[in-house]
Symmetry: C2
Subunit: 496 residues, 2 copies
């Protein structure tokens, strides 16, 4: 067996254990009994440590040396070798004890968050988050020493290796300039119209039926995936068994519906990853930013278009047995594209969303870089919510700094991926529409084939063959360009 | 760290991985998408191999040598050392390649069984089962060579180390003598009464509500467990997060209800295992036979008593909003204790049940010992069903030899545990009733405390401190004695 093949075998086993870990991670959120928390945390930590020990096995260093000298590797194999090497590099830097602690602390904090968020209990949550931040900083210190970057940049790399905080400061700086005035203009324009509210109750089983129907139309493969309930919607599981989740409220079907379509966008990316490279690093999704581009392209670019809403409104009426002007496509479109300064990120519209991200980015960057402490978060949150949205969050932790699952999970550096994804989505959809101008009218007829085929060819099937910049260049002919997003918003919200 | 403590640490990690494996095993049956099967099978096989490699690590041999010389171990530690040693012994005998193959083949066969059973498709299922039997025999060959016993006995040991097939032949021989005539007498006696059938439909969510209510009363801890749906009811998960499952049919609530109570009996045993020894071999359930004794004690001895059915009938009427003579305790009791010669083991009453087991025992013993082949099973099944019950199963694989999950899972040697458990249950309940004669009247009032406390003290909290024989002796003052079961059946079905 060549050194390359031996590496493939080792990373294949790590991927198999990752499969088990992903399913248990989903289970923890969807099914686990409260009393099962502590022993689950131990079990997941032990599994992480086993995976970690496999990747830091000293023999891998030799195998990489030998594999790099091999002639005749295909491009995919070369990229796989690069991805394996990157994973190995990161892993060898972090001692097993820290990996174990990370998993255990994150699991405990996430579990505490689930209980304490609903009680608005920052006081009891804070010590948990402090433990999480402390151990994450320990990890970041090691990574940043090695890579010669800031603490926060060393975490960013884990989600999107193609962008550092200097570049994000520039991109986000442009958005901070553009958005506030733009938002005010849009809100003023939208105030010219009255929007009729669809009023429920909308039975949860009907909402689920509707969601299942529409993601089926969108091409989510139910032979390799399912939809369940969880506090915080997410897309988990593995490529051949994708687990998307949502939450329902009886008096409003609109949020769960778009939530499901968003997560199904993630799910289709996972399902469309190159079959031939399942279980190998090169067969995985490129980055969290690219992942978000796929969920946002589906949710924002497609499903919040007049064409899709025209298609969907028929099914909405049918499933709930409702009719009337509030279910007319034009009203539903206005309802769904309403721009509002609001407290909750996951409920935010695509126009205000980047400011929610920038707020979190600014706080978590300073937190990880040691410029602020966990205790400072609520005041900073409140200050920035006032600055960006003129909203008060004092004492409202539940809808303030305790609203997201990311920090309790230790996922610092993830948030920017959402906005990077939104920028990519605008650029990708602009390109595919130029190449296939019939797509919007196809979507109106419930036909997603052309779009899905293009995405599969240009994004999904590419796995980690290239880095994000090359991937976007190959698909669109240029690097990430913020103008696509600005033009998209302007056309949709001011010109149309 | 002493050698003993080092062993505790290693077996703790193996238990953590076992936790993850148990949750994924439950998930496979309850949630997994069909398309996820092949990659799940790979992942579970990889996990098994990792666990196997941990236990066969050569350093363990030395640790056991050192640990055995240690002075001052407590009784629990000594028993833990014995259980660790037994697990290590079994594991070191089986090469990793066979373990991996076992997991992969069993997972694939079980998955095929789930698809093919409903189609009555023996032809396509047979090659899967042949693969499973072949690899199981490979394993048994190694074990039996080492232990100097028959192939089948080497598998029996995995479920109940205290009984071999010679002893089972004797016990089952007595039952084969006693039961057929007894069954005819009972059926003749029961024919004197007319039984009114409760007729549905009984909504599945109401059936679930009823099941949840009654196992709550019985002391199942929902903070450390849950109830879900699966093709074949089982009790899985881990002690602090027990996963019991059932299946519902709309026109009959009675089966799912007793099924849930049965599985909750397993679940309570798991939940009651010694907290202090979680994650260690001595903290696990004693054997599958003892496990079945706990589910059967709950289902048969308690829940199929007049007292419990009197209690349950109130809830049955309330949940379904039903009334009338068919829901009267006396009629429900007659309905539930009806004895019938039938095709399906899991639906069989406690009187005919042992013959279903003996049939399977005789076939699997000969199959594993190489005296018959997989292709011979349907004819043998049919022949024995004729002999024991005068029932024809020709061509009806679905309700014949394809009805059980055990063989597709590779669990040969498990079936006897059911009947051993039934015998133990009768002996245990006879003892506890002698010590606490008020228990039946407490059960009628929905009070399970005295019973649960006795079971916890005498069985659950004992884990693997003793072997099964000692456990039963400590609890009842004598070894397993078939007379308790015979007396129980005679009192319940002929005298009462």
């Amino acid at each position: 067996m060549t050194a390359y093949k031996e590496l493939e075998k080792i990373f294949g086993t790590i991927s198999d254990l990752g499969h088990v870990s992903a399913i248990c991670g989903w289970d923890e959120t969807v099914n686990m009994s409260n009393g099962g928390g502590p022993s689950r945390a131990n079990a997941m930590a032990a599994l992480s440590l086993v995976m970690h020990n496999m990747i830091v096995d000293p023999k891998l260093g030799d195998l990489f040396k030998k594999a790099k000298k091999l002639k005749g590797l295909t491009n995919w194999q070369k990229s796989n070798l690069r991805e394996m090497h990157d994973q190995w590099q990161d892993a060898t830097l972090i001692p097993g004890s820290i990996v174990e602690e990370l998993t255990k602390v994150n699991s405990t904090t996430e579990h505490a968050w689930r209980e304490l968020r609903i009680k608005n209990d920052w006081k009891n949550f804070r010590p948990h988050l402090e433990k999480t931040v402390a151990i994450v900083i320990k990890e970041a210190t090691i990574l940043s020493d090695h890579y010669g970057c800031s603490l926060y940049d060393s975490l960013l790399m884990g989600y999107e290796p193609s962008f550092n905080s200097k570049e994000l400061d520039q991109l986000f700086g442009k958005l901070k300039k553009f958005l506030p005035k733009f938002i005010d203009k849009v809100i003023a324009k939208q105030n010219e119209h009255t929007i009729l509210l669809p009023t429920g109750p909308f039975a949860v089983n009907k909402q689920k039926e509707l969601g299942l129907k529409l993601i089926d139309v969108a091409g989510f493969d139910f032979n390799r995936g399912r939809l369940d309930l969880s506090h915080h919607p997410f897309c988990g599981g593995v490529s051949d068994d994708v687990r998307i989740t949502t939450r329902y409220v009886e008096d409003d079907f609109t949020q769960s519906l778009m939530g499901i379509l968003h997560e199904a966008g993630h799910g289709k990316y996972e399902q469309g990853l190159p079959r031939k490279w399942r279980g190998q690093p090169v067969g995985q999704a490129r980055s969290m930013a690219v992942h978000e581009s796929q969920s946002l392209l589906q949710e924002m670019q497609i499903c919040l278009s007049k064409e899709f809403i025209t298609f969907a409104s028929k099914h909405i009426k049918e499933v709930f047995g409702m009719d009337g002007p509030e279910y007319a496509p034009e009203n539903l479109y206005r309802y769904y594209t309403q721009v509002e300064k609001s407290l909750i990120r996951v409920d935010a519209d695509e126009v205000t969303y980047p400011l929610h991200i920038i707020l979190r980015y600014e706080i978590e960057k300073d937190l990880i870089n040691g410029e602020i402490k966990v205790k400072d978060i609520p005041a900073l949150w409140d200050e920035k919510m006032k600055e960006y949205f003129n909203l008060n969050t004092k004492g409202n932790y539940k809808d303030g700094c305790m609203q997201d699952v990311h920090w309790p999970c230790g996922s610092f550096g993830y948030f920017p991926s959402y906005t990077l994804g939104a920028l990519m989505a605008a650029q990708l959809y602009s390109t595919v529409k130029t190449e296939h101008p019939a797509i919007p009218s196809e979507i109106e007829k419930g036909k997603w084939k052309t779009l899905n085929k293009w995405l599969e060819q240009n994004i999904w099937s590419q796995g980690c063959l290239h880095d994000t910049d090359k991937l976007i260049n190959n698909a669109t002919g240029e690097s990430l360009n913020i103008d696509y997003f600005k033009n998209y918003l302007t056309n949709k919200y001011l010109k149309a």
